[in-house]
């Protein structure tokens, strides 16, 4: 087994310090602003207000309005500024207040940021980081609750990451700021208050590497973002029924760490993909196909299964909102069916 087994247990004891996911992002931004003069932030209400989810907090007071820029409510314009600045050598970190609003800026993200390196023959690059608060569960309804990560993962030229822990939120953001090309980070809104161990110094988590959060031999559950935690809880319940589910935190959608996935399925012989974004054409479909096309196909002892968002806009009614995305009991039931009944 060459995959990394980790629960973000950093080797040094000092890393047991626990902070929230939002604070981990704050620390990454602050450290980047302190160490790299090319870095600046822009977004709606990220200055004096401190960000819709209080991620940027006091950064405007620490680094000034030239480096923490409140933009007008004009996403395409902000994205254009960010792409232009990145082309010119800056390292902008653009926050969309809600990832849903990125739909207003697709021209700059998809047609410009993703393509310019290629269209300019490698003579330019767009070292842009886009932060995307995403996901359902806050009662914010259809236009403020989507999980659109698969849209962006479909575009060559973009990298897409989805940190599930405070540790990865900091490490992947710093890796994204270092990256010479555009990186889109999906942050689940329900994770912002979640605490976990985070080293105080700056560190990087490699983009494009999945991680095994819990080893197991009966089934591989590949999950993203918030679903990693639900999958882990489901795995704990499954252990009570004598089943050992391996839980993989995908972390990066593009590039996709197929090697870790193939290795895992080869060992466990069963695969369940879990994501909050709509199931149809979601990352689970890509993972399923990657496994079916790989040497792991011959190791499959049950059909591949996916759990994803329901085929509808996220409803406002709390019961329906809950029903529209996979819950712990859904994961537990699907996993148990696969292991016990092979279906």
């Amino acid at each position: 087994m060459n995959a990394i087994v980790s629960l973000d247990a950093a080797p040094e004891a000092a890393a047991r310090r626990e902070i929230s996911y939002a604070d981990a992002i704050y620390e990454a931004l602050r450290s980047a602003l302190e160490t790299d003069p090319r870095v600046f932030l822009l977004g709606e209400d990220i200055g004096v207000y401190g960000g819709a989810f209080q991620v940027t907090r006091d950064l405007v007071h620490l680094f000034g309005e030239d480096r923490v820029i409140d933009t007008p409510i004009a996403e395409l314009g902000a994205a254009g500024v960010a792409v232009g600045a990145a082309l010119a050598g800056s390292r902008p970190v653009l926050e969309f207040q809600f990832s849903d609003f990125a739909t207003l800026a697709m021209e700059q993200i998809v047609n410009q940021a993703a393509k310019l390196r290629y269209m300019l023959g490698g003579n330019a690059s767009v070292p842009l980081v886009i932060r995307m608060p995403a996901g359902a569960g806050t009662g914010a309804a259809a236009q403020h609750s989507q999980s659109l990560e698969a849209w962006f993962a479909h575009v060559p030229g973009l990298k897409v990451v989805q940190p599930a822990t405070p540790h990865d939120a900091k490490g992947l953001l710093l890796a994204a700021i270092d990256d010479p090309d555009p990186v889109v980070i999906f942050e689940h809104k329900l994770l912002y208050k979640m605490a976990g161990p985070v080293p105080s110094e700056a560190y990087r988590v490699p983009i494009g590497k999945a991680v095994i959060r819990r080893p197991g031999r009966d089934l591989t559950i590949v999950a993203t973002g918030l679903m990693v935690h639900r999958a882990l809880e489901a795995a704990e319940r499954l252990a009570g029924r004598g089943h050992e589910a391996e839980v993989i935190d995908l972390r990066s959608l593009r590039p996709l760490d197929t090697a870790t996935l193939i290795d895992s399925v080869t060992r466990t012989t069963r695969l369940l993909c879990v994501h909050e974004s709509v199931k149809m054409l979601g990352i689970g479909a890509e993972i399923s196909a990657a496994i079916a096309e790989s040497a792991a196909f011959d190791r499959l002892d049950a059909p591949i299964r996916r759990l994803g968002g329901a085929d509808c806009p996220i409803p406002y009614a709390p019961g329906l909102e809950r029903a529209a995305v996979p819950q712990v009991e859904d994961i537990e039931a699907a996993a148990a069916r696969l292991i016990e009944r092979g279906e």
Partner: protein, 453 residues
């Protein structure tokens, strides 16, 4: 060359169908892809096309009769070619059996007709089951699928392989309701006056694992061989996974199993956890121990390599199992593919896994041989020997020094935790000696073992 046309399986659970009508008449020439006949099942009707060109020679009975799937219904012949003499299509009885073996055509070697290939592809089987069946040269059609809609899974293939192997070569297990399966070899047990030898396997092993030693002992004993009985302990081999998973429960099950076999006295041979059980049974008294031979027994000290036990419990694939199984032997090459496979298959059912986990937790809590396993305080009056490999990495051989004084100790070189496998000959010699000694003769020193007291 004549090309067989068989009645294909066109729906999953189809075992028979009828030819509604032929679309080509006897003796007419057809080209590949031309519709030949219409097939009708309980669910559907469809046209079957010619897989090759040739002149049609119909061997099926009249239109409308039931025909078993896989039966030859016609041949496509080259001009002037005679039809192979073949049995007519088997008509399907009311309780039609699964596809019969197609009649053996005396003439051309059977062409693997595309129709037949499609037929096999229609079987439901997981990719892993298909691959395993392929590598074992096994016919999927012969395997009963336990998955949804009869899908064949890895477990089904494994079960089939195991069943076939045990049917072919191994002593049959018998079990009375609620009791432990017993595998028999050696002398007939007609004469109750001959004390049998009872073998108790170790954790995560099974009765079958004694086969090598049993064969070696039978050879040494020749015509005088007493009955040799190997028990499958609960949660192992063919025994159920139910009941309490504890050392005491295993001992009770073994005692009850032996008594149900009419056994009041036995030469007890136990390995590892089975060694502790054998000692426990000897001390219990309900079974009269005529002699006691313990191979790397548990129950004499605290240490045990539970990392290896845990690794064996967790492993799902040969690659993850191998490092742990290698620890059982002085020579890691002993952990060969066959042993890995048998071990994986022996422990993969979820209930079994669960049972063994609980048993391990009860016997070896916190990486320690629990006090409940201890037996060194008891008085054992029968001839008793301990056999241990000097390279045992699971339980240190020095635990033998805690055994009561009547025990003879045999320490084997180049041998790990599995003397019955790694030093089969020496262990068989020691056993034969013990049996002779227990029958009233003075034991002589076994030649390939060192003796201490």
């Amino acid at each position: 060359m004549a090309v067989e046309i068989i009645l294909p399986r066109v729906d999953m659970d189809m075992q028979a169908g009828r030819i509604a009508r032929w679309l080509v008449q006897e003796g007419e020439a057809v080209t590949p892809g031309a519709p030949l006949f219409e097939i009708e099942t309980s669910k559907a009707a469809m046209e079957i096309e010619a897989t090759a060109g040739g002149i049609l020679h119909i061997v099926a009975g009249p239109e409308g009769g039931e025909i078993a799937v896989g039966s030859v219904v016609a041949y496509l012949l080259a001009p002037g070619e005679a039809a192979p003499a073949a049995a007519p299509a088997a008509s399907a009885g009311p309780d039609s059996a699964p596809a019969p073996v197609p009649p053996a055509a005396p003439l051309p070697a059977p062409i693997s007709a595309p129709v037949a290939a499609d037929d096999a592809a229609l079987l439901r089987a997981t990719p892993l089951a298909r691959r395993l069946a392929r590598s074992e040269g096994m016919d999927l059609a012969a395997i009963a699928g336990s998955g949804p809609r009869g899908r064949i899974t890895r477990l089904d293939v494994a079960r089939h392989t195991r069943d076939a192997a045990s049917r072919a070569a191994r002593p049959a297990a018998t079990a009375r309701a609620g009791l432990l399966p017993v595998r028999r070899a050696g002398g007939r047990d007609g004469g109750r006056d001959v004390t049998p030898v009872v073998f108790l396997h170790g954790f995560a092993s099974e009765a079958l694992a004694w086969n090598g030693l049993i064969a070696a002992l039978a050879q040494r004993a020749g015509a005088a061989c007493p009955p040799l009985l190997a028990l499958d302990l609960p949660g192992h081999g063919a025994a159920p996974d139910s009941g309490e998973a504890s050392f005491e429960a295993l001992a009770e099950a073994a005692i009850a199993g032996l008594r149900a076999e009419g056994i009041g006295a036995a030469h007890l041979v136990g390995h590892s956890l089975g060694g502790a059980l054998a000692a426990r049974i000897a001390l219990d008294g309900r079974i009269d121990a005529a002699s006691l031979v313990l191979l790397a027994p548990a129950g004499l000290g605290a240490e045990i390599d539970t990392a290896a036990l845990d690794g064996i419990l967790r492993a799902r694939a040969p690659d993850s199992l191998r490092p742990w199984m290698e620890r059982l032997f002085a020579d890691p090459a002993r952990a060969d593919a066959a042993l890995l496979r048998a071990t994986l298959e022996g422990g993969e059912a979820p209930e079994r896994c669960d049972f063994r986990r609980r048993l391990a937790a009860a016997c070896f809590p916190d990486g320690t041989q629990s006090a409940r396993l201890r037996w060194q305080g008891g008085a054992i009056a029968t001839p008793a020997r301990i056999v241990w490999g000097r390279q045992d990495r699971i339980i240190p051989w020095r635990h033998a020094l805690a055994a009561p004084g009547r025990f003879a100790l045999h320490l084997l070189d180049d041998c790990g935790h599995m003397p019955q496998i790694e030093a089969t000959g020496a262990v068989a010699d020691i056993l034969a000696e013990t049996l002779r000694g227990a029958q009233g003769r003075l034991p002589s020193h076994p030649d390939r073992a060192e003796v201490a007291c």
